[in-house]
Subunit: 97 residues, 2 copies
């Protein structure tokens, strides 16, 4: 299986309401894109300094299925609407589990 991990740092425009909008809408992605096998996300719990603010992990049967998710129009629309306006930093890896 392929695990996709992505982390975000919020920018100065990231109000609590905009962050909540991202949380409310990201959970719709695995319902809309049926190649997703597992999907977890959440805010950093604040145990360590210097961390990013938010993380998503999503599992897929194959790299091809991950690319289907990555390129799905509903994923692109989610990123443009809810992610891009409030993200100041991003880190990502896709790896074989």
């Amino acid at each position: 299986m392929i695990r996709h991990c992505v982390m975000f740092r919020w920018n100065d425009e990231a109000t609590p309401e905009l962050i909540q909008g991202l949380r409310d809408n990201i959970v719709k992605l695995p319902e809309r894109i049926d190649v997703v096998r597992a999907f977890s996300m959440g805010d950093d719990i604040g145990v360590n300094e210097g961390n990013f603010d938010f993380c998503v992990t999503a599992d897929f049967d194959s790299a091809e299925d991950y690319v289907v998710y990555r390129d799905d129009p509903s994923h692109h629309e989610f990123i443009a609407t809810y992610v891009r306006p409030i993200v100041g930093g991003r880190a990502a890896v896709q790896f074989e589990m």
Copy 2:
């Protein structure tokens, strides 16, 4: 449950042998630190540009158990010996699944 995610970028000193040393020894951590409930790691598969090089995800029953792992002497020794010499960048989040 708490998921700990950490990503690394290798620095210019990171030879294939040193990276293999990290891979060979990181798998010993969940054997040595019994609070670890799930442990996955791997190299970025190269589907996207700009990604970090390596990722670890580890799951724990609680934030307290994650801190036990973080502060375990065998974890500290692993970081000092195998991680710090070859890491040029790091990104991390701990989140509640």
